[in-house]
């Protein structure tokens, strides 16, 4: 048995070039895009397509350098809004850029991974929602780090008793990301999918268009309670984020 294990260990070929990054965050084919930043975030670029996750269910392709250079200032401007202490608290250190991000064959804008302190971003995600998507995904990292504060069941109680969320975020057809004219407790159709997406939608709107949300909650008591819930719990982590 030991000989078999030895044989397997010896012949696991390693790729020297991206090894150091792979050892840290378990994503192959990456290179450094920008390492030194005020808030200690590290930006990594995909130089070759990668497949990761259970049964390689997460796939993404390498970026076009020109495309990334064009979009990077927007990404950087948004991520700069989080200071290093906050990022450390939510376990975010690496932002990985790629194009055409899929999870289980479903296109997605970003995939957060608290364990590896990584947020994968699809730089080709719909431009209309791109900035908001960044904050939406960051909220998932916040929630994963502070599960008790952002408890799904506690949050669901703000809704009318006859409302039910879907079983999961991708098993409903509630996917539209446009802001409702009449909110009725929800900012977008996607907010109605599951509680964590509802919270992430609120947080992302507060980050990109706070004034508009402050207007909306004046006539929507359910939404008002939800927004206050998010603000209160975020302020427990850092008073200056919202």
């Amino acid at each position: 048995m030991k000989i078999i294990i030895l044989f397997i260990l010896i012949f696991q070929f390693s790729h020297v070039n991206a090894d150091e990054i792979y050892n840290l965050i378990k994503i192959p084919n990456l290179e450094i895009y920008k390492l030194k930043n005020e808030n200690n975030i590290r930006y990594l670029n995909t130089k070759g397509n990668f497949k990761i996750g259970v049964d390689d269910n997460i796939t993404c392709n390498k970026t076009n350098q020109e495309n990334l250079n064009t979009k990077f200032p927007t990404i950087e401007r948004n991520i700069k809004r989080y200071n290093s202490k906050f990022l450390k608290k939510i376990n975010l250190k690496y932002v990985v850029f790629c194009e055409g991000l899929f999870i289980s064959n479903i296109n997605t804008g970003g995939i957060p991974n608290n364990k590896n302190r990584t947020l994968i971003l699809d730089i080709n995600f719909n431009e209309k929602y791109f900035e908001r998507m960044i904050h939406h995904e960051i909220f998932h990292m916040i929630q994963n780090s502070y599960e008790d504060d952002f408890n799904d069941q506690k949050f669901s109680l703000f809704n009318n008793s006859d409302f039910e969320y879907a079983e999961c975020s991708t098993c409903s057809d509630r996917l539209n990301l446009d802001l409702y004219e009449n909110t009725n407790g929800f900012l977008t159709e996607y907010s109605k999918s599951i509680p964590s997406e509802d919270m992430a939608e609120i947080f992302s709107f507060l980050m990109v268009n706070k004034n508009l949300i402050e207007e909306k909650i004046k006539n929507d008591s359910i939404l008002n309670n939800k927004v206050n819930f998010i603000k209160l719990n975020i302020s427990k982590i850092d008073e200056n984020i919202l």
């Binding site: 030895l6 010896i10 990054i21 390492l35």
Partner: protein, 216 residues
């Protein structure tokens, strides 16, 4: 009268082939044996140090590697490193993980000693001194010759394994606990046997002795 017999053309070719084979076999044997040729072994008598208390000397096949330790950056890690050195626990420790021109790693006390290598468990061995909290520094740059404590994928899992970088690895900054830097002997480290493209090295090079300069 003895007749001289001329060698045939094929016999001549065979003879030349055998000579070439013998020369190449001899020269490759000679080259393999002499991997330490032209390497300065760093004679301690010829070297002076400002702070000898924090100088460690790792003796390898090709000579001495002199490491300056940085207790001001990582006090607990350096203290542990010194204890392991003083207890001679690194003696015989194999460089089982060697990535050519990138890094060398040794220090598995339990499963990585040359006398009792266990490839099925190597990298998971313990020193018996307990795990350490990571002492990360956002200012320490992992340039060529940096010495750091290895850890598992989790922080606060440092024990005895250490690595030495053979090139600049900026991504390691703030990720690994720094211990010190190689002052002399980087060329000796570059001669350590690699695993080619395999993760672990078969019949690896190892540390003969590891001592603090003052006790050397």
């Amino acid at each position: 009268m003895i007749k001289t017999i001329k060698a045939s053309k094929s016999e001549k070719i065979l003879f030349i082939f055998l000579i070439v084979l013998a020369i190449s076999a001899f020269s490759s044997f000679f080259l393999l044996k002499s991997k330490c040729l032209f390497i300065d072994s760093n004679d301690l008598k010829k070297l002076n140090f400002k702070n000898p208390d924090n100088i460690a000397v790792m003796n390898l096949e090709c000579g001495n590697v002199i490491i300056e330790l940085y207790p001001e950056i990582s006090p607990k890690a350096v203290k542990r490193f010194k204890i392991l050195i003083e207890k001679k626990m690194y003696d015989g420790s194999a460089f089982y993980k060697v990535v050519e021109n990138t890094l060398v790693q040794a220090g598995d006390i339990e499963f990585g000693n040359i006398k009792y290598l266990d490839y099925s468990k190597i990298g998971s061995g313990k020193s018996g001194l307990g795990l350490l909290k990571s002492e990360l520094s956002d200012d320490f740059e992992f340039t060529e010759g940096s010495v750091g404590f290895a850890r598992s994928t989790e922080f606060d899992s440092e024990d005895s394994e250490f690595f030495i970088t053979l090139k600049n690895i900026p991504i390691y900054q703030g990720e690994y606990t720094p211990i010190g830097k190689v002052k002399f002997g980087l060329d000796i480290l570059k001669k350590i046997k690699t695993g080619n493209k395999a993760i672990y090295v078969l019949r690896p090079d190892y540390i003969n002795t590891f001592r603090m300069l003052k006790t050397n």
